[in-house]
């Protein structure tokens, strides 16, 4: 027989850790916005995002996307560590023991609560070795870096670092559709570098996501 008492973890039922009304708190009299475990949060104004892109464009020209990608990689690596730490603290078990579905669900809620848009994982090409991450309403791609090119260098870096750590593989990330170019969402394809390389030219040509995927899985 199932014992109901055994289903509780320290008398708790872990659920939606990142629920926005609980997760975002603050010591406002000190000017601090914090998450539920007391780490500082910042509200990032859109104008600052714009300023970063235009400042980098002015100073580094073509290098903007590489700088942003690097920032993203650094951020993603740290974000992964902190995300895992928070989850394992909350669930009272290591992230490795957490069912993947709960991990992914927490990631989605985390994204949403931070105001980074709605992230989802598309596993349609899983058997071919590609994972497609989709983000709607991203704040990070609103400002174009280069005309006619996807502008998710920062976001792509975060995702690349995050999923590389998660899967223990050295993944690459290629953005195949971008909200700044009128797409319904950003799409980032994650896979091994040598398999993604050939698709870069297609992105530059402005080929649609589906065509790029078709080529990739051939």
């Amino acid at each position: 027989m199932i014992s109901v008492a055994d289903l509780l973890v320290d008398d708790r039922l872990p659920s939606n850790y990142f629920a926005s009304d609980v997760y975002v708190q603050g010591t406002l009299e000190l000017g601090l916005l914090e998450n539920r475990r007391g780490d500082r949060l910042l509200a990032l104004p859109d104008a600052l995002m714009k300023a970063i892109v235009s400042g980098l464009n002015k100073e580094t020209g073509q290098a903007t996307k590489y700088v942003l990608k690097n920032c993203g990689l650094w951020w993603g690596k740290n974000f992964y560590a902190r995300f895992c730490e928070e989850l394992s603290e909350y669930y009272k078990k290591g992230v490795a023991d957490l069912p993947m579905v709960e991990f992914v669900q927490a990631l989605q809620e985390c994204w949403r609560t931070h105001g980074w848009g709605r992230i989802s994982l598309n596993t349609e090409y899983q058997l071919q070795g590609f994972l497609v991450i989709e983000v709607k309403n991203s704040p990070f791609t609103a400002h174009q870096i280069q005309s006619e090119q996807p502008s998710g260098a920062l976001e792509g870096g975060v995702l690349q670092a995050f999923f590389s750590q998660l899967t223990g593989r050295d993944l690459s990330c290629l953005q195949t559709s971008c909200e700044s170019l009128g797409a319904d969402r950003n799409r980032f394809v994650l896979g091994l570098a040598d398999r993604l390389q050939s698709a870069e030219a297609l992105v530059q040509e402005g080929q649609p996501h589906d065509a790029i995927m078709k080529m990739l899985i051939q």
Partner: protein, 173 residues
């Protein structure tokens, strides 16, 4: 607290509260002893109530895997805890806000919907047999909100979201 009531306190600089606003507040305050009382019972009786439900559930789904039943029972306890809080604070929104983005996807991923729905009915039956109609009136808004969340229509998200199953992503690459 019920967001409508909570919003009464938002703008003291605007005007003094009107009689009908103060009435709404008095109503909540006067119902508080009952709410606290019922909440206390829900808390104290959680394990016995849910154990009775669990036993009935196991009988009903004798062929089902224990893992799924456990998963479903956790969902059920969670719903009841949220419904209890909604009752205590007269705030159904808490059920919707916290569970809506999360629970339907869990139900989908673990494929427990049929069990969850049967479980919900069992919980409801337990409640009806234990609590007075007046107490049920206090509880029902939260329970209804929870039921909404586990019924398919509300789970159908606006798009083709992830089809992540409980297997690992590590096997992807």
């Amino acid at each position: 607290m019920n967001p409508k009531l909570a919003s009464l306190f938002d703008e003291p600089e605007k005007a003094y509260l009107q009689p009908h606003e103060l009435n709404a507040l008095s109503q909540l305050v006067s119902s508080l002893p009952d709410r606290i009382n019922l909440y206390r019972r829900l808390r104290n009786e959680e394990l016995t109530l849910m154990q009775a439900v669990a036993d009935a559930l196991q009988q009903k789904f004798a062929q089902e895997s224990e893992d799924k039943l456990k998963r479903s029972l956790q969902n059920g306890m969670l719903m009841v805890r949220y419904a209890a809080m909604a009752m205590l604070t007269d705030d159904v929104e808490i059920v919707v806000k916290r569970l809506e983005p999360w629970l339907p996807e869990m139900i989908e991923a673990y494929d427990t919907r049929a069990i969850d729905q049967a479980l919900y009915q069992l919980i409801r039956e337990q409640f009806v047999s234990r609590f007075t109609p007046a107490q049920m009136t206090l509880l029902i808004p939260g329970l209804d909100a929870a039921q909404q969340i586990i019924t398919p229509s509300s789970a159908a998200n606006d798009d083709d979201d992830a089809e992540i199953t409980s297997e690992t992503l590590v096997s992807l690459f």
